[in-house]
């Protein structure tokens, strides 16, 4: 049996290591942009081992990052309306 002091110590230790899902998804987002510190990385890995929902968030967030990467380089082609083209051209002509 653990004595009371050990229990309190264990509890504190758990809290300093274990992340909440809120915090875990914060780190998952952060690692899409920068490298996490060793401590953050370890905390995240431990959380992910035990949390299926955050594992899903991690995978889906990576899928989104990949799609966003495509969006970044090729803007989907769009056309300026002909009315707006005429309007811009007229404004430019006035200036020129």
């Amino acid at each position: 049996m653990m004595n009371e002091k050990t229990k309190i110590w264990m509890n504190k230790a758990m809290h300093s290591v274990m992340l909440s899902c809120d915090r875990a998804t914060f780190f998952i987002t952060k690692k899409e942009y920068v490298k996490l510190s060793c401590k953050e990385n370890l905390q995240l890995k431990m959380h992910l081992m035990g949390c299926k929902l955050c594992r899903s968030f991690n995978e889906q967030n990576a899928i989104l990052s990949e799609k966003i990467e495509t969006l970044k380089h090729d803007s989907p082609p769009a056309e300026l309306s002909s009315e707006k083209k005429v309007e811009i051209q007229e404004t430019l002509d006035k200036t020129i």
């Binding site: 998804t25 952060k30 899903s56 889906q60 966003i68 989907p76 051209q89």
Partner: protein, 193 residues
């Protein structure tokens, strides 16, 4: 004329709308998602470009030069939007329990569901559209931070300076943007198909 001068690019403002209008508009729309705003930014950019034509050195193509002016306009727009006092109270639904024994754990109706692999592979085009639509729903400050950091690779320091936010604020906004995007894509794409 020296060889160097021959290779320099020149400007022809009379053809800007015809030759670069759609291209500039596509870029603006991919960053702003609001048609009218994107149109106006293209117009403002071309007028600014005309006024600044003497500064064009010919080192880059006409199109690259025009895009660089438009990029600046987009950032100015973000800045104005995010400094709008209304954006201080941007609504955001936190998908986690707040307080109590379940503090910081997922609220079940907002938690990630599994995404169907087959749908993922078959409907990539639709996913891109949904993603753009979901980005357009982000509140101004979140949208600005997310676009600048993710789409334009602007440094954290510069974003904080432009938007007047702290670095920890930036990470909170990116976290929220990602939470909202994920849930929006899931609802609009997987559940409504």
């Amino acid at each position: 004329m020296t060889t160097e001068e021959k290779h320099k690019h020149s400007l022809d403002p009379t053809r800007w709308v015809k030759e670069h209008g759609d291209y500039l508009f596509s870029y603006a729309l991919s960053r702003i998602s609001k048609k009218e705003v994107a149109e106006d930014l293209v117009q403002e950019s071309l007028l600014s470009a005309y006024q600044a034509r003497d500064k064009f050195r010919g080192g880059s193509s006409e199109r690259t030069w025009l895009i660089s002016i438009l990029k600046r306009k987009v950032i100015d727009y973000y800045r104005k939007q995010s400094r709008n006092p209304e954006s201080l109270t941007d609504p955001f639904m936190i998908p986690f329990h707040q307080g109590g024994a379940a503090d910081g754990t997922w609220i079940s109706e907002h938690a990630p569901a599994s995404w169907d692999e087959e749908i993922l592979q078959d409907d990539e085009g639709v996913l891109m559209e949904v993603l753009q639509y979901c980005i357009s729903l982000l509140a101004p400050k979140m949208a600005a931070t997310f676009s600048m950091k993710t789409l334009d690779d602007i440094s954290t320091e510069d974003i904080c300076k432009e938007l007047g936010i702290s670095e920890s604020n930036l990470w909170v906004l990116l976290h929220r943007a990602r939470l909202q995007l994920r849930e929006c894509v899931e609802n609009k794409w997987f559940k409504e198909l």
